[in-house]
Amino acid sequence: MKRLISAALGLALMAAPALADWAPDGPISLWIGFGAGGETDTLGRLLASEMSETTGWDIVVENRPGGGGMAMFTQLSVAEADGQTLGMGVTMPVLVNLTVRPDEVPFTLDSFDYLGTVALAQVGIIAPADAPYDTLSELVTWSQENGGALVGFDARPQELLMRFVDAETGAGFRLVSMESSAEGLQNVLGGHVQAAFTAGVHIPSMEAGDVKMIASANAQRHSYAPDVSTVQEQGYDIFVDPWFYVAAPAGLPEDAATALADAMRAALDSETMTEVIERTMNTEPGDAGPAETREMLDAGLENAARLFAN
C-alpha cells in the first residue's frame, strides 16, 4: 500500500510540471466587478468553477461591486501582480469612465495585463410587435411626426448612440433611463415607451410575437435574429459592444500570464461553458487572447471617444 501511494505521489509530481510550469501559491481570487446574481457574477462563478476543475487550483470568487466595475478595477490596479488576484468586468463602463473623466480614474488600460474575453453582450433595440415602424430609420420618421418617441436605455453608451442618431436626423427622441434590460422590456410590453434597448431578455417575448427587434446595436447582427440589420447598416456609423473580460494587475510574470490565459481558454472552450454562454447570453464564448483583448480595448477607447464627441 505504502509503495502504491509513493508511486502515485511520484507520478503526480512528475505529471504536474508537464501540465503547467506555473502553479499558484495558494488560492486565486477572482474579483467580480458587480454584485451577486448579475450576468457578470453568474458567468464569473461558472468560469471559476470550470477553471478549478480543469487545473485543480482553488479559485475563490469575491464580489466587489461599485460603479459598473470601477471600484473593483481600482483595487485590482494596486493588487500584487502574482497571478493570484484576477478581476472580471465589462468593457463599456471602464471605457466610458476613461473617456469622460480620465483625471479622476486612478488607472489606465496600461494598469492591467489582460487574460482574454469571456463573452459579448448582444444589445438590441426592440419595439411592440404592432408598432407602425420596423426599423430604427422608420422609428426616426415616426418620432419626427409624433412629437418625439420615448426610448428606454439602461447604459450610458446606449443613450449616446441614440443622441448620435438624434443629432444626425433631428428625430427628437425622449430618452428614458431604465434600471435594466428587463425594465426596458416591461415598459415596451406595457406600452409606456415606443422602443427600448435590451440584452437578450426580450428573446422569449419576441418568439411569442409580443415584441419585435428593430435594430442590433452591436457591430454585428445577432445570431438569433440574422434578418435584423445593425444600427450601422441602417446608416448611422455607431455601435456599442460590451465585452465581458478578465484582467490581472500589470506586471504579471510571463509563465503565470501564459498559464492563466491557457487555463481560462481551456475552461471557455469546455462544453459546459459554451453551453452556459449560449443559454444565458445567446452567443459563443469570446475567443480573444491577451493581445487581442488589449487591442480590442484600445479600439473601444477610440469608439468611446467618438460616442462622446457629440
Partner: protein
C-alpha cells in the same frame, strides 16, 4: 391552462423523495442564513447557483426556492427574540413580536409568525398558480408614472405610521432619500457625494446600512446597557414563562387574526406583482392598515398577535407573487427572482410568455415544490424554534459578541470588504442618534431602500409626462394614489 395530465405529471415530479430532500435542505439553509444578520437568503442563493448547474433543473430550482422561503421566516426569529431583524423584511415583525417575547412568550410569538408566514406564502403561491399570466399582464399596465405615485403613497403611509410624529417621519423619509442619492446619478452617470471613493459609485451598500441600523445598533445598545447594569449572566432573550397556553397558538387565536392574514396576503401579493418594491414596504403597509383597527385587549406595539400576523403574512406573500412577472413575462420582481432567472437560464430555460407552453411540466413541478417548501417551512420551523429559543437563552455576554461577529463577517462578504464594515458602523451610530432624538429609524431605511427606484421613476415620469403636470390626466390611477397619499398623511397625523 395546460392539460390536466401535464399538471399532474409536474406535481408528481416535485413530490418525490429527492425533491423533498432538496427542498428541506434549502429551507434549513434559508432559515439559518435568514436568522444570522448580514448574510441572508439572497447571498446564499447567489453562492448556491453555480453548484446547482449539474442538478436536474427542477431540483435546482426547488432548492433555491427553499432557501428563499426559509430565509423569510428565519429573518423573523432574531427580530422577535432579540429585536435584531436578520433582514429588513422582518423589521416590522419586531414591532409586536419583540414585546411579546419580552413578556415571557417567545414561543407563542415565533409560532404565530411562522403560521402567518406560511399562510401568506401559501395564499400567494395559490394566486400565482391560478393566475400568473393574467396578473402579469395587469401589472404591465403600471408604468413609471403609476409606480412613482405608489411609492409616494408608501412613503406617506410609512411616515405617518411609525414613530411619534408625522413631521419626524417625513424628515426621516427625506433623509433616507438623500442618502440614496449617493453614487452615480441615473440620468447622466455623474458621481454624487462620493468624496473620492469609488466604492460609493453604486451607492451606499443596502446590506451595510440595514445591518448597521437594525442589528448592529441594537447589539451596541444592549452591550452598553449590560456594561452599566453590571449584570453578568443575563440571558440574551427573555425565557419562556407561564403555562402551555403561553407557548402554543390555539386555533381560536390563529383564526382571530383572519382579517390581518387576508389583508396582509392581499397587500403582499399586490406589492409582489409589481417589480421592485419589496417585502419590507409590504410588511409596513399591512401593519399600517391593521393599526387603524381596534387592537382588542393588547395595544398595538405591546405584543399583539394580530400585529405579528399582519406583517409576516404580508412579507411572505411577496415571495410567491414576485414570481408572477417572472413566469408571466420573464421579468424579475426582486433580486431573489432575478437569481431564479439566472438559475433557469443556466439550465437552458428562458422565462417568458411562452414558458407555460414550452415548459408546462417543469412549471407545475416548481409549483409543487413551492407548496412543498411551505409545508417544510412549517415543520422545520416548528422544530427549529426550540433550537433558536435555546440558543438565545445563553448569556448575553456570549450571544452578543457572536452576533457582532456575524454582522461584521456578513457585511464584509456581501459589500465587498472593510469599506462596507465602516459604513455599517456609521449607520449604527446614526441609528442610535436617531432613536435617542425620536426619529424613526425604519422609516429612514425604507426611504433609503426605495430611494433609487423613486428617483428613477421620477426622472422617467418627467420625460414621459414631458414635464407637464396636466399630462397626469392620462394617468387616473396615479392621480388617485397621489390624492390618497395626501389623505393618508392627514388621517394618520399625530
Amino acid at each position: 391552462m395546460p392539460p390536466l395530465d401535464i399538471i399532474l405529471a409536474g406535481f408528481a415530479d416535485a413530490l418525490t423523495l429527492w425533491g423533498l430532500l432538496f427542498v428541506i435542505v434549502g429551507v434549513v439553509i434559508g432559515q439559518i442564513v435568514g436568522a444570522i444578520p448580514g448574510i441572508g437568503p439572497i447571498m446564499a442563493m447567489a453562492i448556491a447557483i453555480p453548484f446547482t448547474f449539474t442538478l436536474d433543473p427542477l431540483f435546482a430550482i426547488s432548492f433555491l426556492v427553499g432557501i428563499n422561503k426559509g430565509g423569510l421566516f428565519g429573518a423573523a426569529v432574531p427580530a422577535i427574540l432579540m429585536n435584531t431583524p436578520g433582514t429588513p423584511d422582518a423589521a416590522a415583525t419586531a414591532l409586536d413580536g419583540y414585546p411579546l417575547a419580552r413578556s415571557g412568550k417567545p414561543y407563542k410569538a415565533l409560532r404565530i409568525a411562522l403560521f402567518s408566514s406560511v399562510t401568506g406564502d401559501t395564499a400567494s403561491d395559490i394566486v400565482l398558480i391560478l393566475a400568473a399570466a393574467p396578473l402579469a399582464l395587469l401589472a404591465l399596465q403600471a408604468g413609471p408614472v403609476e409606480v412613482l405615485a405608489l411609492l409616494i403613497f408608501a412613503f406617506a403611509v410609512v411616515s405617518g405610521l411609525v414613530g411619534r410624529s408625522l413631521i419626524k417621519g417625513l424628515i426621516a423619509t427625506a433623509a433616507g432619500l438623500l442618502l440614496a442619492t449617493v453614487g452615480l446619478d441615473p440620468e447622466q452617470g455623474s458621481p454624487r457625494f462620493d468624496f473620492g471613493f469609488f466604492e460609493l459609485y453604486d451607492g451606499v451598500s443596502l446590506v451595510a446600512v440595514a445591518v448597521g441600523m437594525l442589528a448592529f445598533a441594537e447589539i451596541l445598545r444592549r452591550l452598553a446597557l449590560g456594561w452599566t447594569a453590571r449584570e453578568v449572566a443575563r440571558p440574551a432573550a427573555a425565557p419562556q414563562t407561564g403555562g402551555p397556553a403561553d407557548r402554543r397558538v390555539s386555533l381560536a387565536e390563529y383564526l382571530s387574526c383572519w382579517r390581518e392574514l387576508v389583508r396582509g396576503a392581499l397587500i403582499g401579493i399586490g406589492v409582489g406583482a409589481l417589480p421592485g418594491l419589496g417585502s419590507t414596504a409590504a410588511a409596513f403597509m399591512s401593519y399600517a392598515a391593521t393599526k387603524k383597527s381596534d387592537p382588542g385587549p393588547v395595544p398595538w406595539g405591546q405584543g399583539n398577535l394580530r400585529g405579528i400576523a399582519a406583517t409576516e403574512a404580508a412579507n411572505s406573500a411577496v415571495v410567491g407573487a414576485n414570481l408572477i412577472p417572472l413566469l408571466g413575462i420573464g421579468i424579475p420582481g426582486s433580486i431573489a427572482a432575478a437569481l431564479l432567472i439566472s438559475a433557469f437560464m443556466i439550465h437552458g430555460i428562458q422565462p417568458g410568455p411562452l414558458l407555460f407552453e414550452t415548459q408546462a411540466r417543469l412549471i407545475y413541478g416548481l409549483f409543487g415544490a413551492m407548496l412543498m417548501a411551505n409545508l417544510c417551512n412549517l415543520i422545520v420551523g416548528q422544530a427549529s424554534l426550540r433550537l433558536w429559543a435555546w440558543v438565545v437563552r445563553a448569556p448575553e455576554t456570549l450571544i452578543l459578541p457572536a452576533a457582532l461577529l456575524a454582522c461584521i463577517v456578513g457585511v464584509y462578504l456581501s459589500s465587498g470588504g472593510l469599506f462596507g464594515v465602516w459604513i455599517m458602523l456609521m449607520a449604527a451610530v446614526l441609528s442610535l442618534v436617531m432613536t435617542a432624538t425620536g426619529f424613526p429609524v425604519i422609516v429612514f431605511i425604507i426611504a433609503f431602500f426605495l430611494g433609487e427606484r423613486f428617483e428613477r421613476s421620477l426622472s422617467q415620469s418627467l420625460v414621459i409626462l414631458n414635464g407637464d403636470p396636466l399630462a397626469l390626466r392620462d394617468h387616473p390611477v396615479a392621480l388617485l394614489l397621489l390624492v390618497a397619499s395626501g389623505a393618508v398623511a392627514v388621517w394618520m397625523r399625530r
